[in-house]
């Protein structure tokens, strides 16, 4: 696992708005025949999909189609719910995350997550929130000085630094909803994950904050593999290189975003994106 971290580059100064996908498309995450169950209910059914390195993949589909559950399988969060089980393989850089002996806690440290609603830790300052992931382990904690640097880098990366630089010691709950969500993104980025999972990250945000988060996703392209679950098809079209469409727990279709939205291969995809259901 550690080789993944060391190979990571420092936060990139990415030129925004280069719309074409990164040329290289080696998969960072490979999902093979994945089933996710809650007791006997199969929420995700036999999903096989590749997530190319450095690209943004959007997962779309109607409510309850299993897209969030699929996302939660990728960092082993699914199993934290009682009675939840996973069958199949999830390979990160060729290594099965569900293999015997893999520590789920280690996995989660290398795959960042941002949830639908902002979840800043209310008892921590803005600074400590960003640094929270760095302190998750008992070993390899950075020095105070290094921590300060990482906090600044992460906040700059999330586009929040200028807004909070003078009140890093204030409680994180004092921030607005949009700021809190970007704070959570900064927190997820602080550990330099190779993959970041966004579970409807703008569902509770106003249009302006949504735009900021989408710009941020854009900035991440190239250096981080982003997987974003969204209800919003326009958002998927705006931010992603590839799109996957799920329905009733199954992966119906996946492909380059423009292709999927203009010439879907499956009639169910077409029905969904033309608004016939969902």
């Amino acid at each position: 696992m550690t080789d993944v971290v060391t190979r990571l580059k420092p936060p990139p100064v990415v030129q925004a708005s280069t719309r074409e996908a990164p040329h290289e498309s080696r998969p960072r995450i490979v999902v093979r025949n994945l089933d996710a169950l809650f007791g006997t209910h199969r929420a995700v059914r036999d999903v096989t999909i590749d997530f190319p390195d450095g690209q943004v993949t959007a997962i779309i589909g109607p409510s309850g189609c299993g897209k969030s559950t699929l996302l939660r399988c990728l960092n082993r969060m699914h199993e934290t719910v009682p009675l939840a089980r996973v069958n199949g393989e999830v390979l990160l850089d060729g290594k099965d995350l569900y293999a015997r002996g893999v520590n789920p806690i280690e996995v989660r440290r290398h795959i960042g997550v941002v949830f639908q609603r902002p979840t800043p830790f209310p008892t921590m300052s803005i600074r400590d929130n960003v640094a929270a992931g760095l302190r998750a382990g008992t070993r390899d904690r950075p020095s105070r000085k290094r921590e300060d640097e990482i906090v600044e880098e992460s906040l700059r990366w999330a586009g929040l630094w200028e807004e909070v630089r003078d009140r890093l010691r204030d409680s994180a709950t004092a921030l607005s909803g949009g700021q809190q969500q970007r704070l959570c993104i900064a927190r997820a980025l602080a550990t330099r994950p190779s993959v970041i999972l966004l579970d409807e990250p703008t569902a509770s945000l106003d249009p302006l904050s949504t735009q900021k988060v989408e710009e941020l996703v854009h900035t991440l392209r190239g250096s981080v593999t982003v997987i974003i679950v969204t209800h919003n098809m326009q958002q998927a079209a705006r931010v992603s290189d590839r799109t996957a469409f799920m329905l009733l727990g199954e992966l119906v279709e996946t492909g380059p975003t423009t292709g999927l939205f203009t010439t879907p291969r499956d009639s169910r995809t077409e029905d969904y994106i033309t608004g016939r259901f969902g």
């Binding site: 960092n75 009682p82 280690e106 989660r108 949830f115 979840t119 830790f121 209310p122 998750a136």
Partner: protein, 293 residues
Amino acid sequence: MISRARPPVPRRRSVARRRATNVVMIALMALAAVFATLPLILLLIHLLREGASSIDLAFFTQMPKPVGETGGGMANAIVGTLILVSIAASIGLPVGMGAGLYLAEQRGARLATSVRFLSDVLNGMPSIVMGIFAWHFLVRPVGHFSALAGGVALGAMMIPLVTRATEEMVRTVPTALREAALALGYPRWRTSVAIVLRTALPGIVTAALVAIARIAGETAPLLFTAFGNHFWSTSIDQPIASLPHQIYTYAKSPYDDWHRLAWAGALVLIALVLVISLLARFVTRSKHGGVGD
């Protein structure tokens, strides 16, 4: 359609009647609210009238004087109460908080269900029974009364109070927060302690203070455990004086001087409990509060 069918006069009368009922009921409820606080107010007034004059520096610094001599204080009982409450808190808080955290985190487990039920039973247990429990295990085998036995009896009373309060407070911490910590790679135990417990802490501290205030005034469990002591003692394996017990002893004595001291002691005890309660409110309102505010 329906309203047109009804004649207008009775309608207006029914509105007037509803208004009148409303006024009467609100007045009755306000009266009930006043009655609810009346005992406390009357008690405070009475205590101040009877006890305030006997409170001076000597009351806090001096030992009780022998019968017949005027003056003297309750220094030994005040210190005794502090020692007893400390022993109780050092048992009740860690056990109660640990159990509460367990109940909240493993809410469905069979053990959790039975512990929750038993803890409610324990909560309703008469306090003198707690005294018997401590007497049986800590006084009888040793052969003499001790502060430790009294502290344990009070601590056992604290446990269910703190357990249920901790559970309630921990449950108010949103699941999303717990998941956020897990997703960052926090191990389960650190998520529980550093995030969940920490977020619920202001509420738990409040509950702990309320529990302390509650047991500080208990007399029954101390009767045959701490027993009381007319002399200065801070040793935990010796009988020890306490405010509520001293008040009880003095109040039933035939001496006016002791009655006077009992009133003063009651006033000090009430003041102590009020201060702790106010402290509890203050903690809940603190700035970096979690879910408690």
